[in-house]
Symmetry: C2
Subunit: 424 residues, 2 copies
């Protein structure tokens, strides 16, 4: 299968931030050429004249809980503890594998509309999430969510073995829910796995001020310092949220080559705070962006997150020059791919996976064209996404999906599951 | 001309926040019926089966500087003073009436894509803005922008007389740029006009902390107290931004029946701060939402502003229950109409102007339908706007515009003007 996208502005994210005008050639799931128009004897199965529209690498949603779509708009406007204990946990306790399968598919549809080509998903069990991603053609990196109440270090180790190499769209990373939900024994078992596999470890980290306070009271250390002292990060890894990290924590992230995944909308909506993104950038830490789950955001929209990442940094630092648009676009693409170890999905270059999106510039919010990357980050919207391709397959184009099932059916199932769970 | 929208979920904003299922009948520019399906002998010129999609009053963009589209993505990531003095002011000095006409049209296209049916526009001169709105069929309330460097109280008075009653889509309110740009003599002249016409007065107010500090140093009063002492607000009015208002200021807003127009994205991007929206709500002050101009936001997107209004209140108050979705939706529709004195554009009820929008619920971000108003505020997007109607005329539908000129021409003119101004 050969695909050619031509007459395009292409932001490869491999060089400077200036789009080139040219074309992209794809063989099966791989990019084989990016550059100026040139003759070819290839018989193209699929061609698209992009009429000057902008191609860039797909966004990587580097932290989410996809299947929580059923809780969207169910339990908002509540204090965090009530939200978790009265609404989220009791509903989640009723979920089956089949529920998680359909609810994950709903999230995948939404990712496609927002130009997201891969997610870093943490949820109760991996099996049905893996199946939902394979069936829809979506790329998913899973991470373990072991804690005192679900999963186990042994299970996470099994999944790590099973799901790496299982399917080209699927990979698995070691991970646990959070320091405050996971006792030391489990953490030590997980650290042993990290050392055994030379593998990075991921977790929710320093999301709220009270979480950090409690950890210091208990261990004399911040969560980052405590977890690092247990050797969890000997081979790197990453932290989701990291709103309340200290300068010493940031230094650990830097030294260990770890990533921070920021989740600005969720941190606002749950009143957690604003992450120190500028300080992390200054320290040279790899940054990525996530939507968090649909129960706490509630939108799975990378454009919202990108604007928030820069805008919140500006108000936090009291400096309108903080965290510029190019830095944000880097986080949403290259930074995400690095955090998720999707090394062949970082840029649009020959040899990379064909995970890419096309943005319609022929819309009022993209005009005038003073600066394309600023337009994308500051005024871009899901409305501009006209094509989303994963592993060489167009999964979303001009509002239509190609995911192996009618979206209306996926919506109907999500509504039916939600009704069932609420009635139980 | 008779129009019928049927098979719709209708959120009238007149009663509780539960949508009804039924239809809307429109005669010329006016709604004549909203309710359950019933027989009629009317010959319909236009009919739309909305297939269960959601109709609600159009959003009111209650503070903007539309023609600043030419500065979008031109001067971002700069400290406020550099942005204003090195980029904005020198470029604005070159603008002609014809430039403002075309640049305002570009903004109007963007309003339509975001479900905005009216704007409260403050800019250098009103004539070409009025013409752009009339020519595109857009509803605009203008406000004076007198200050020490442009316009005059006398001119603002003339425009007030000229543009109220000039055209059904146009009205004009007294206004000045800001306390810090306008000397006392001009303010007193404007206050005399307010008293003469029994008219409200609008201005940028307490946008930055330094503006408030300077006013206190100069007058011993906050901007709100100082302006009120000059009788500018004897007949009400409103403040744009109001990030740094005190409890005493809020009490003046309440007593004078004034409106606060919040501009959350702009306040972040220019590092101005987060407005005390919950305190204003608690005091019973009418609240509205504005995008501010495209140079400081940069998107003219009411969905972004609605999410930010609630999310920033939550993090500011450290309370995930602050400023709920229904309150935000009220600000974006009814509150905006009240701030702009568009009393016949508040709700979808017989006798009101047919200014309304249709949101596509058949999209992943609107599923499942646990709560429609929360879905709109927390996960809604421009992508969901499938129809925008102003004064009974469909101006935007399924991505196509009906504004008397080809959008491509408007884009081309905006780019040409921008090139010219940058080259001069």
């Amino acid at each position: 299968m050969y695909t050619r996208l031509y007459n395009a502005r292409i932001l490869t994210m491999a060089g400077d931030m200036q789009p080139i005008w040219g074309e992209i050639w794809i063989e099966n799931d791989q990019i084989i050429y990016v550059g100026e128009p040139k003759p070819s004897e290839i018989h193209w199965d699929t061609e698209r004249n992009l009429c000057g529209n902008l191609v860039l690498p797909g966004f990587k949603n580097a932290h989410t809980h996809s299947a929580m779509t059923f809780l969207r708009s169910y339990a908002d406007d509540l204090p965090l503890q009530d939200w978790l204990t009265k609404q989220v946990f009791p509903m989640e306790a009723k979920l089956t594998e089949e529920h998680i399968y359909h609810l994950s598919k709903l999230a995948i549809l939404e990712y496609l509309t927002s130009g997201i080509t891969a997610n870093f998903d943490m949820y109760l069990t991996p099996d049905s999430i893996v199946q939902a991603s394979i069936d829809t053609g979506f790329r998913t990196v899973l991470t373990g969510a072991v804690n005192d109440f679900s999963q186990s270090a042994a299970l996470v180790g099994e999944w790590y073995q099973k799901y790496n190499g299982y399917h080209p769209l699927i990979s698995f990373e070691l991970g646990f829910h959070a320091e405050y939900t996971t006792s030391r024994g489990i953490l030590e078992d997980l650290a042993a796995l990290a050392v055994l596999y030379h593998a990075p470890v991921y977790t929710h980290n320093s999301e709220t001020a009270s979480e950090v306070r409690s950890c210091i009271e208990k261990t004399g250390m911040t969560p980052t310092q405590y977890l690092d002292s247990l050797h969890l990060f000997d081979y790197g890894g990453g932290g989701y949220h990291c709103v309340h990290v200290t300068a010493e924590d940031i230094d650990i992230f830097r030294r260990r080559g770890m990533s921070v995944i920021t989740n600005p909308a969720s941190n606002l909506k749950l009143a957690s705070g604003i992450a120190p993104v500028q300080a992390l950038l200054d320290a040279g830490v790899n940054l990525a962006i996530g939507t968090d789950g649909p129960a706490s955001n509630n939108c799975l929209d990378m454009f919202r997150e990108m604007f928030l990442t820069t805008a919140l940094a500006k108000v936090r630092e009291n400096d309108a020059a903080a965290v510029d648009a190019n830095a944000v676009l880097h986080m949403a693409t290259v930074g995400g791919a690095r955090a998720m170890r999707l090394t062949d999905c970082e840029t649009l270059t020959a040899g990379s996976q064909a995970d890419l999106i096309v943005l319609d510039l022929n819309q009022p919010n993209m005009q005038p064209m003073n600066n394309l990357t600023k337009n994308v980050v500051y005024s871009g919207s899901k409305q501009n996404v006209v094509l989303t391709m994963i592993a060489g397959v167009i999964r979303y184009e001009n509002g239509s999906f190609d995911v192996g099932e009618d979206p209306e059916e996926i919506f109907a199932k999500a509504n039916e599951i939600t009704r069932q769970l609420r009635a139980q």
